[in-house]
């Protein structure tokens, strides 16, 4: 039977790509994370230093700051995106020309390059000639001349805003798919019995969407942990280090200061955080599935 091995032959090309482009670099940076390697001083890796790079990280204030910044960013952007996406999907699942139009244009923010989103929000929030900065100032006099991106909290707020603007559409599509797959009968029966919209949403729809919401929350968490482009084009990590996320900090250590050993160790800390979340995610999903079938 020559077909016996076919399943494996089909997998080989893709598997080779994954092996060469992710598994190998991962192993390489794992080894590098136990070395001292200052690229400005030496072309080749210097000696092994054990877990020194990791120990150094635990005491370094800039690393701890980036962890905190990342935490704030992830929490706010995940919560906002998931709630907004759910609300949008509930609104957009109805039929109607305006609903369809909104659904169609919703793909645009998702297709827009995040680097460009950062650039255009930077332009719109420019205190002198930014259209949003000026528009807000005209409507609310108290907001006139607010130096949006020069204020640590506001800069973080705008960073979150760009991310929510970029990801809410994608998550809305996921919600719409989830909503389409749950049976409408219970909802219709409740409506005939005179249940209010809010009751139907919170009592009937949301409980059935638990699985989808969970998937969304975890995917969004992963995307938020990886977010990098807008930090470069919107805030540059500033003002000060107030929007310096872990991914951006790793980039600085690796490609501004060329400390490869330390950057690799930091990169592995970020990987570990993500792995932890994804394992937790798989376990949650599995128990969810058990509950659903039981």
């Amino acid at each position: 039977m020559k077909d016996r091995l076919l399943p494996y032959w089909l997998l080989i090309p893709a598997f080779m790509i994954v092996l060469a482009t992710t598994i190998y670099p991962l192993a390489y940076s794992f080894i590098t994370s136990f070395r001292a390697w200052d690229l400005t001083k030496s072309r080749r890796p210097e000696g092994f230093v054990g877990i020194d790079n990791y120990i150094y990280a635990t005491g370094e204030s800039q690393f701890l700051n980036s962890l905190w910044v990342t935490f704030i960013f992830v929490i706010t952007s995940v919560i906002l995106t998931v709630i907004l996406a759910m609300a949008l999907a509930l609104l957009l699942r109805r039929k109607g020309p305006m609903h369809t139009f909104t659904r169609i244009i919703l793909i645009l923010p998702f297709a827009m390059s995040p680097a460009l989103i950062g650039v255009s929000y930077r332009f719109m929030f420019n205190p002198e000639f930014g259209v949003i900065a000026n528009g807000l100032g005209a409507v609310f006099p108290a907001l006139q001349g607010v130096p949006w991106l020069a204020d640590p909290q506001l800069a973080m707020g705008i960073l979150v805003l760009t991310d929510v603007w970029h990801w809410t559409p994608y998550m809305t599509f996921m919600c719409l798919g989830g909503l389409a797959s749950i049976p409408r009968e219970t909802e219709e029966a409740a409506r005939i019995d005179g249940a209010s919209n809010l009751r139907i949403i919170f009592g009937i729809i949301l409980p059935q969407m638990r699985g989808v919401i969970l998937v969304m929350a975890v995917l969004k968490t992963i995307f938020a942990l990886k977010m990098f482009d807008q930090v470069v084009t919107l805030t540059g990590g500033g003002p000060g280090t107030s929007t310096e996320t872990l991914a951006y900090f790793i980039f600085n250590v690796g490609f501004r200061w060329f400390d490869m050993g330390y950057a690799s160790a930091l990169a592995w800390i970020l990987t570990a955080i993500m792995m932890f979340i994804s394992i937790w995610y798989v376990r949650m999903l599995l128990s969810e599935r058990k509950m659903a079938t039981a």
Partner: protein
Amino acid sequence: MKRTLSYVGERALLVLISIVVLFPIAWMFLTAFKQPRDAYSLSLNFEPTLQNFVTVFSAPWNLGSMVMNSVVVATVTVAIAVPCAALAAYSFSRFRVKGRKFLFFLILSTQFIPAVVIVLPFFLMFRQLDMLDTRLALIIVNLAIVTPFVIWMIKGFIDAIPTDSEEAAMIDGASRLRVIKDIVLPMAAPGIMTSSIFCFILTWNEFLFALILSRRDAVTLPVGLVSFRTERGDLWELMSAAGVMITVPIFIMALFIQKHFTRGMTAGAVK
């Protein structure tokens, strides 16, 4: 009365959402056609000009070469990733072989690895091989991000195709490869097309790899944006013109797949 109120409220909400979605994009498009002095004013009453596009395509910006780099990198990445991923997706979808779950999980879990972890070793490797600032280097790293994603997406589409006609053909003596070529591929074509476009968008917009691995020759459009930040300040009208060049092809593609996109997304994520 209550009904009309909620009717009006719902429409108003939809208009508001559309404004939030479209405004930043519209503003960028407007700015791209403004003369420099108008770009720094909020006026909508300006004389449109194509000068910004002329400027970005001439020295020293040379956006043309960046467009070329972006087109080549994204096209070649798609051309390599999609066929490989389609075969793997078919295998994952149709065969219950040993170790299948583990392999699928392994491939999916690479999605959870931050790009910055992958780019560090690649930077060192390409430096050693003298491949920094080449399109080939960018294609190789982009494959890392795109391939697992496309496998996952295409698998969702193939899962949705019933197996009956495949089985019938096999009973009639057709080989598995023939079945793939003559039955599965045509039926999966819309899904594969959607995945290809999606993969193109991801690569086209990719920023981190290009920022680190290119200097002058292989710079792609998103990284090119950063070069309009000069000592004289940010040149917004030129950035906007470049932004229009980045978004227009992608928007056309995105609108083209919008319908399938929703389906593909949820099939993969919920199952």
